[in-house]
Symmetry: C2
Subunit: 110 residues, 2 copies
DNA sequence: TTGACATATTCCCATATGGGTATATGTTGA
DNA sequence: TCAACATATACCCATATGGGAATATGTCAA
């Protein structure tokens, strides 16, 4: 087996920095592909391809508007990532780190 | 160019579900490789290889203990992910969603 | 010193990636 | 109907993946 598909889930889709850039732009509002192309300064096919991945994992929604395709962020698809990482928040909180270490010390003492 | 290396950053390292499993186990405390192998039920080389990736992006720290290598979580390396995703929290918060839509409606009205 | 133990590394392979470039599809206005 | 426009898809390629299996490296205990 090879690496999981980028379209496997939000985790994989978002691992690509360029796709995060797209999401960051869309976070400010709906945009047609061409605006993304302009603002990002990439080749149009690249943008379309990344959008396709984002679409497949439900991170963006598409709406037709004449010859334009309007893309909109669907941040809800990011929730699984947030939910997972939330449990680690305390890890980089120095105060709680100290507590953890104390707990660890007490635990290994027995 | 191909896909970014899994060792490129925490985003890529954590995109692999199995590596998240490892981190979840280590979140409860330091463990030697063999305990991970047992608890996960995978082949030992696979565990070692995933640990190597996690080490390279700084998600785990290693300590030698006789013939054992003790692995410990370094959650701080997850902070960049948390920081990025935090800005999207409001997206799945229904109440704020409504506010966003209102703002959007007002904006497009002009 | 030797053998068992703990872990890491190497090799092989099928697979999908993301960029580049060219082209297809679909839409609009004249 | 046709040309310009907006977007998507197809093709080619170098690359690294993750699993499986075999093996190397390092450490301890007798």
């Amino acid at each position: 087996m090879a690496r999981a598909a980028t379209t496997a889930d939000a985790f994989n889709a978002v691992a690509e920095p360029r796709r995060r850039e797209i999401l960051d732009l869309l976070a400010e509002g709906e945009l047609p592909v061409n605006d993304l192309v302009t603002q990002l300064g990439w080749a149009q096919p690249q943008v379309s391809k990344h959008l396709r991945v984002l679409r497949k994992v439900g991170l963006v929604d598409q709406r037709e508007n004449g010859r334009q395709r309007m893309y909109r962020l669907n941040g809800r698809a990011l929730k699984p990532i947030h939910d997972w990482i939330k449990n680690y928040e305390r890890t980089w909180n120095e105060r709680l780190d100290a507590l953890d270490e104390l707990a660890h010390a007490l635990k290994t003492e027995e």
